[in-house]
Structure formats: C-alpha cells, structure tokens
C-alpha cells in the first residue's frame, strides 16, 4: 500500500502540515474559514514533534499489525480493504479510547465533537494527502511501501 514516508532531515518545523490537515478535515475546507469561523476549531491529525533543531511530522503509520484494531471493542477500527488504510467508523466508535492507549506512536487523538476518535485517514479520495501535498520542503512523501 501507499504510505507516507517521513524525511525528518528536511522537516523545518513550520507545521504547515498540521494546518492543512486540520483544514482538509474541517467543514468548510477553507483555511481562513476553518480557523476563523468554525467552532470547535479544527484539530490536525498529524503532529510535528520537535527537539532542538530536529523535527518531524508524524501521523498514523497504518501498521500492518495494528494494535488499535485488535484493541477496539466495538469493531469501529478496521482496515480498508481497497487502500489498506486503518480507518475508524465514527458511527460505531463509542469513545472508549482504548486505541489511544495502545497506539505505539501516539497518533490517535480524541475527536472534537462526537464521542469518537480522530486519526489520519490518508485523505482517501483526494489525489494525495494534504500534508504531503502542502509540505513546502517535500519532507513528507507518499510512496508505495
């Protein structure tokens, strides 16, 4: 499957990936409207980790052996058969947050509105994920694994 590869040596820590990710998953999908008009404020599903000058953006790794899927008691977390991505069915998610507990990368977050989690969905349906598309330094690339 196609996965997002992180090139941490080119991540400059601008956090534009976070901004575009949040916008992509907002109601309006417009930068200014999403940040200035929407409530609750959109939250990114990608996170830039920083220590001194080292930084990198990380989002769901879509693990082959995904602990979040086995930990999910309602079967909300599932693997998409066509893309291979690990996705969450919001209607089934009850917000127990077991997936958040077991995720080895800490990339699953509590959702904003509903009692559901929020995680990277690889922007399925789009040409490429927003974080990859808008990274100004090509520190994130979508590659066949």
């Amino acid at each position: 499957m196609k996965k997002i590869r992180i090139k941490e040596r080119y991540c400059m820590g601008c956090r534009l990936c976070e901004i575009y990710c949040a916008t992509q998953h907002s109601k309006s999908k417009d930068l200014v409207k999403a940040y200035r008009g929407e409530y609750p404020k959109p939250v990114p599903r990608i996170l830039v980790e920083e220590k001194d000058y080292l930084s990198f953006a990380i989002q769901c790794r879509h693990c082959e052996d995904a602990p979040c899927i086995s930990a999910c008691m309602t079967g909300a977390m599932y693997r998409d058969s066509t893309s291979g991505a690990v996705l969450c069915d919001d209607d089934k998610c009850v917000g127990c947050w077991m997936c958040i507990m077991v995720c080895p990368f800490g990339v699953i977050n509590r959702g904003q509105e509903k009692k559901a989690i929020s995680k990277c969905d690889l922007c399925l349906g789009e040409e490429e994920p927003a974080c990859v598309k808008y990274c100004p330094n090509e520190a994130l690339v979508l590659e066949e694994e």
Partner: protein, 505 residues
C-alpha cells in the same frame, strides 16, 4: 544627544482578516521578527529586525503577509540619499566597516540592457531548434594553434590536444565555498552540474569528503588562503582554478566569520573550529606574472598535465593586459568576474565602488587576446551578474567561451538577494551553517530546480541563435556583428566593439 539608528528598510503588512494565527511566520523567521502574543491572540511583527528576505511571505498559508519598503523618508536630496545618511548613522554607532553580501547594487550602466541581438530575415534562413539539430556543446581549455591530420593510414588527428572540459551548455556554476553556503546547497550544485553535464566550482573552501564522487564535474579552486588544498583535492577535480580575485571585492581576501566555521567546515578547510577563516588579499607567493606561471606549472605538474589549470581574476581597469599575461603564463582558461559578481561577505564600500562591469571586460580581453594572436591559447569564462539567457548569449557574442552563474543559481534555490549572507542567518537555508536553517534547503528540490534553470536557459539560447541562422554556439563566439548597441555613447560602443543600432554589416 539622542543616539539615532537608521529606520527599518521594510514594513510587514499583515492582513488581520486572513491571518489564522498559525504562527508559521513566528516559528520560521531567523531574525525573530514575528512573535505570537497569547494574551491578546495576535502576532506582532518587529519591523526593525526585518531584512526583507520574504521567507515569511513564502511560507504564510493564507497569503496574509506582504513585506514592503518602509515609506519613511528623509527630505529628498540627490547628494544626501537615504543610503548615505543611514550608512553614516550605522558607522557612527559601530565604528567599523559596513559589511554586505551579494553583488554591487548601484545603478551603473548594465550594458546587457543596452545591447540588442540580430535575427535572420529573407537573405539567410533562420533555424528552428525544435526541428533541426542545435549544438550548445562547449569545450574549455587551450586550443592548438593549428591542427595536423595524419593521412598515412586512416585519417586521424596528429596534433595532441590539451585537456578540455566538456560542457553540454555554456553555463557553469561559479565559485561558492562550502562555509559561505551550506552543505545542502553545495550538494544541489554538484548534483545538478553532474546530471546536466556542466561544472560546479568549490570556491576557496575545499571539497567536503562526501563530494569527491562529483569530482569529475568539479572545478577545484586554489585561493590565497589555500584552504583544504591537498593532493587528493587537486586530483579529485576536473580542472583547477587559481583564484586571484573576485568581482565583488577585487583586491581584498575572503572572510568567513568564525560562527560559520563548524566541525565539518573546519575539517574540510583544515582550520580550527570557530576561528575566522581569513584568506590574504594577495597570494604571498605571487607578485608577478612569472610567479603565477610557477604556480600554474606546479599545479599542472602535481596533476600530471591531465587537467586544465585556469586563473580567476576580478575585472579591473587593467584586465586586458593582465589577461594577456595570464595566458602567457600558461593558463588554460581565464575566469573574469565583473563588478556585479556576488559574495558571501564584503565591505560595502568595496563592493559598490571597485571594478568594472563584466560586459566591458569580456570585450576588451577578447579583443586584446585576438590582437596578440593568443586567443586560442585560453578559454574565457565570464562571471558577475548574469540574470538571464540573453545576458549569456550576449556575453558569448562579445567573446566569452562560457559563463559562470552563482546568484542566479541561488535565486533558483529560493534566494531573494536580500544581501544578508554575511550574517549566517539565511532563512532560505543557503548562506548559513545553522542546522535549524540548513535543513530548509532540500537538495532534491534544489537539484531539480537548478537543472530546470539550465534547461530553460539552454532552450532559450537555442531559440535565439536559431533566429540568427546559427546552429552551434561555437559559431556565435566573438561574433559581435550579431550585437548592436542602443543608448550608448561612441566610446562605449568602441570599447564594446559593437555597432550602434541601425548600422548594417
């Protein structure tokens, strides 16, 4: 008295309607111009720190920022310009030389903008480069006085040809040292030159061990400081260039501030970490053409006469006779750097007041060498402020064999010519060694963009020479009949060796 310092040159215009407080500007600016105030939920910008590099503008996702000139003015005065007043204020505060970066920005005549090219009409057909072959291949090095062919068996060349550099396009990357520019910038230049089939130049900073693999596409420089010059270094390059001078600062040596001398740079240059890398103004073993000849032949000897050895000088008033001496000293090429050539750091007064424009230098050197019948003995590489393909083609028609570009290459990698290279805080990750900033230049993107620039200019050059009815760049070299001057006086036309517009062949 009230100690006055010059006002900021720039104003940051923030469209508050569009600013989403993402703070990308605040995180990215190496000059700490922008800062987020969480109490008020606003981003405040300190204009006094802004150098006008436009990085924040480029990174702002909502285009909420415009960096513009500060309209604050002193009373208009053509003698006491704002620049003159501000420079005095700076020096009255610092008591020192004003440093700057890049090339001369003063409005001396840019002759390129006063030269027009010819094209074919009716009497000679123009050539379409998309349909017919067009040759930009260029060879740098000594050419024989005449060629002898051995006809005894199969015809073959009897004359021994001196070592040559083979260029796919008459454009090379000029000398920029590792130290003045970052590792990633050097890597991008080396890769782009190798992949495109041209050359890059180490400058006076030596060759990082990682870059030896690009040696066949590298011109290694030997400058007055002899930084990083070893037998391996000389052997690694495709050609050796003795650097006597540089267009931005003729007559003075280089100065790399200690802050930029990090561990890998100290290793490459063979100097202690954190010390200023000062190269002397002259080579202390070269005080005459005879001395230069000794160094040229010492280098040729050291590399078994396998590679061209050239000399780089700044374009100064005596450039023509000096060039003649250099050719007679045995140089295989002369690189001439005009007054608009850039630098990582130079005293402003020297950058802006010393040297002559490259256009004149090419014309007078080419003419002089022809008059003396030694033009074939060395190639001429012109450098210093080439901005577009038309500048390149005009330089070749004036007599250059190839050109060196550096500022244009940096602009392709993001540079906006803000002239703050000497601070080591380049936001674009080019003229800096700060690990937080150098990673902003992804060499993969930069290599791609440099190759695009070379490709684009090469295509344009083909279009232009095709229009003249010429199908090889070799046939344009020194072909000044293809040039006409406009808005130039008689003396300038004579020096350039071109006719005025309107005059037929």
């Amino acid at each position: 008295m009230v100690k006055s310092s010059p006002p900021s040159g720039f104003l940051i215009d923030r469209d508050d309607e569009r600013c989403i407080r993402c703070q990308a500007c605040a995180r990215m600016c190496s000059n700490d111009v922008h800062a987020y105030d969480p109490e008020e939920d606003i981003i405040v910008s300190d204009n006094t720190k802004c150098v006008g590099c436009h990085f924040c503008e480029a990174i702002c996702p909502t285009s909420a920022l415009i960096v513009k000139h500060n309209p604050s003015q002193y009373r208009e005065n053509f003698n006491w310009t704002s620049e003159a007043i501000n420079d005095i204020k700076i020096q009255a505060g610092s008591g020192g030389v004003i440093l700057t970066g890049m090339g001369c920005d003063k409005p001396y005549t840019v002759y390129w903008d006063h030269i027009l090219l010819n094209a074919s009409q009716v009497t000679n057909p123009s050539i379409d480069p998309l349909r017919e072959p067009m040759e930009l291949k260029t060879f740098i090095g000594r050419k024989p006085d005449r060629i002898e062919i051995d006809h005894s068996t199969e015809p073959k060349l009897a004359t021994e040809i001196s070592p040559q550099l083979e260029l796919e396009t008459p454009i090379m990357f000029s000398a920029m040292s590792y130290g003045s520019i970052s590792y990633n910038t050097c890597l991008a230049l080396a890769r782009a030159a190798s992949e495109f089939g041209t050359f890059w130049n180490t400058g006076e900073g030596g060759l990082h061990s990682d870059f030896y693999e690009y040696g066949p596409r590298t011109i290694v420089q030997v400058a007055s400081g002899r930084f990083g010059v070893t037998r391996e270094y000389l052997s690694a390059g495709a050609a050796i260039e003795i650097k006597i001078g540089q267009g931005a600062k003729p007559g003075i040596g280089g100065h790399l501030p200690g802050e930029k001398v990090t561990d890998p740079i100290s290793e490459t240059r063979m100097i202690p970490t954190g010390t200023d890398a000062l190269s002397p103004a002259p080579h202390h073993d070269i005080y005459s053409i005879e001395d230069l000849r000794q160094l040229i032949y010492a280098l040729k000897e050291a590399t078994r006469y396998e590679k061209p050895v050239g000399v780089k000088i700044a374009a100064v008033h005596n450039v023509a006779p000096i060039s003649s001496g250099i050719v007679r000293a045995g140089a295989d090429f002369i690189a001439i750097d005009g007054t608009r050539g850039g630098t990582g750091a130079a005293p402003k007064v020297i950058r802006d007041n010393v040297g002559i424009p490259i256009e004149m230098a090419i014309a007078v050197v080419d003419s002089r060498l022809r008059e003396e019948g030694i033009r074939n003995q060395a190639s001429i590489i012109a450098a210093g402020g080439f901005r577009k393909s038309s500048d390149v083609i005009k330089a070749i028609a004036l007599g250059a064999d190839a050109v060196y570009i550096a500022t244009s290459a940096l602009v392709a990698m993001g540079c906006t010519v803000c002239q703050k290279c000497y601070t080591g805080k380049c936001n674009w990750g080019i003229a800096t060694q700060d690990p937080y900033l150098t990673k902003r230049l992804n060499p993969e993107i930069a290599t791609r963009r440099l190759k695009n620039l070379l490709r684009a200019w090469s295509l344009e050059i083909k279009e232009m020479i095709g229009g003249m009815g010429i199908n090889a760049i070799e046939s344009l070299r020194g072909n000044r009949e293809q040039l006409r001057g406009t808005g130039l006086n008689e003396v300038e036309l004579k020096m350039l060796g071109i006719k005025p517009v309107g005059e037929a062949w």
